[in-house]
């Protein structure tokens, strides 16, 4: 019995420093440091002190222009939030953009179509849009049938979106979120239809397709800055600056790693340290 218990105890992974799971200390420190940076900058923003500006992002500036174009042409604006679920950070970033776009569409009385692949994302986007119309004083203009769950399957969803592009003929198509192979199909179909397209994703494999087929493309972390950029809230600007401070630390680590790899190629000190 004692031997069995000892064996079981030996087999259980041992905590690092008595507290952390193996291989998670550095991850945790990154979260804590980023949290501290964000908190410092948010506090600065709240007390009215100056926060560095975010550079102009053409794709985000173009969102309002795209909505304006659709309003003038009397055609809808479509929003495609990617195919992944609400547990994906890119989908969360897309929610910030949905909030802004739906608000603008409510303000200018432009039809807003949101096309979802994930049922939870559909539920969230419906609520965001309903709230946006309410806050703009246009609850009567909100049409729940314009917020559509099409299919949970990637290519069934793609086929449905293409059909909606053909039938509804939107003037502007905004694609923000986590995309896979359907990115090319949607972007190119939109291009056929002559709509102005803004595509943003941090899925690196799909970026070339957005760059090639969309009028404006947002690359990687630009989609995470979208919510801050569109809201123009200093508090959210502060979080974006916090990201950049974190990147600065990583630059230093990369530089240190390059020097160590050049000077002592067999050394695994830094790799072992970062793997803790």
């Amino acid at each position: 019995m004692l031997m069995l218990l000892a064996q079981e105890a030996a087999e259980q992974p041992k905590p690092y420093l008595g507290v952390f799971s193996q291989g998670s200390l550095v991850d945790f420190l990154v979260v804590v440091i980023l949290g501290i940076f964000i908190w410092v900058l948010v506090s600065r923003a709240r007390t009215g002190r100056k926060i560095p500006e975010i550079k102009k992002i053409a794709g985000l500036e173009a969102i309002d222009e795209a909505i304006g174009r659709a309003t003038e042409m009397g055609r809808p604006v479509t929003f495609v939030p990617g195919i992944m679920g609400v547990d994906d950070p890119m989908t969360l970033a897309a929610f910030g953009v949905v909030s802004h776009v739906s608000r603008q569409c409510a303000r200018y009385d432009t039809r807003f179509l949101a096309l979802e692949c994930d049922p939870l994302a559909y539920a969230v986007i419906e609520e965001i849009t309903r709230q946006a119309y309410l806050e703009e004083g246009r609850p009567d203009a909100f049409n729940p049938d314009d917020i559509r769950f099409l299919s949970g399957e990637q290519f069934a969803y793609t086929g449905a979106v293409i059909d909606i592009f053909e039938h509804e003929r939107p003037a502007a198509n905004i694609m923000f979120g986590h995309f896979y192979a359907e990115a090319m199909i949607l972007a190119e179909t939109g291009s056929f239809q002559g709509m102005i397209q803004i595509g943003g994703t941090a899925e690196t494999a799909q970026l070339p397709f957005f760059v090639a087929a969309c009028d404006f493309a947002l690359i990687g972390e630009e989609i995470y800055a979208a919510s801050a950029y569109l809201s123009k809230e200093p508090v959210l600007y502060g979080t974006v600056v916090g990201q950049d401070w974190m990147k600065a630390i990583i630059w230093v680590l990369i530089l240190a790693g390059s020097i160590v790899a050049t000077v002592a190629p067999k050394s695994t000190f830094l790799a072992d340290l970062l793997a803790k």
Binding site: V42, A93, Y122, R148, L150, E233
Partner: protein, 209 residues
């Protein structure tokens, strides 16, 4: 409480998952396991909402005899028919599996195959020598495309080696590492913003507190 309730729930859930991932005790107790199960359940419930939404929209199309209303009937028949078949037979049932293998799978492959043609037209339209950067992009695209096909090696024996060892292995990798690092930190920051209650778009807020 309409906005505060979901925010409190978000923060508490995030803290539980963080504790589970980073701390030994969290993993030992399996704190996040019930959350994972509830997430799956809520996905299923939301799927039912999605069903209702789809049915509502397509039923209206049929009632109004909108262009292509026949396809709305096809959608509803397929949707409910396959659901009932699946409930009756489970995923191993003969008819369920037959439809999956012989109708659904080829349809998915067909749509995916469209990507090849769309890439052709996108490349034709987008790769123009408008600027220096666009020219570099064009040349890289040509090199990689021909280098990844046997024709590249037939034209020049070292083509695929140049593409895979230098273009993909050095230039491309450096660029991708940079984008992935930035995107990873951005994802982190987005999650932290939501956890700290700074971002409230997902619960219908205007964005900040």
């Amino acid at each position: 409480m309409r906005k505060e309730g979901p925010m409190i729930l978000t923060v508490l859930s995030a803290l539980v998952v963080l504790f589970n991932n980073y701390f030994f005790l969290g993993q030992k107790w399996g704190l996040a396991d019930p959350l994972n199960n509830w997430f799956q359940l809520s996905w299923g419930i939301a799927l039912a909402l999605g069903f209702i939404n789809l049915t509502s929209i397509h039923w209206k199309y049929v009632q109004r005899r909108r262009e292509g209303w026949f396809y709305s009937i096809v959608i509803m028949v397929c949707m409910y028919g396959y659901l009932i078949l699946g409930l009756e037979q489970t995923h191993n049932g003969p008819q369920f599996d037959w439809i999956y293998q012989n109708i659904f799978t080829p349809l998915m492959s067909t749509i995916f195959a469209l990507v090849a043609f769309f890439i052709t037209s996108a490349a034709y339209r987008a790769f123009r020598v408008r600027t220096k950067e666009a020219t570099v992009l064009l040349l890289c695209a040509l090199f990689v495309m021909l280098g990844r096909a046997p024709i590249g090696d037939a034209i020049w024996g070292g083509w695929s080696k140049f593409v895979s060892n230098w273009l993909m292995g050095v230039v491309n990798m450096a660029g991708y590492r940079g984008i992935q690092l930035g995107a990873a930190i951005g994802g982190f920051a987005t999650a932290l913003r939501i956890m700290l209650g700074l971002e409230r778009a997902h619960i219908g807020g205007t964005g900040t507190q």
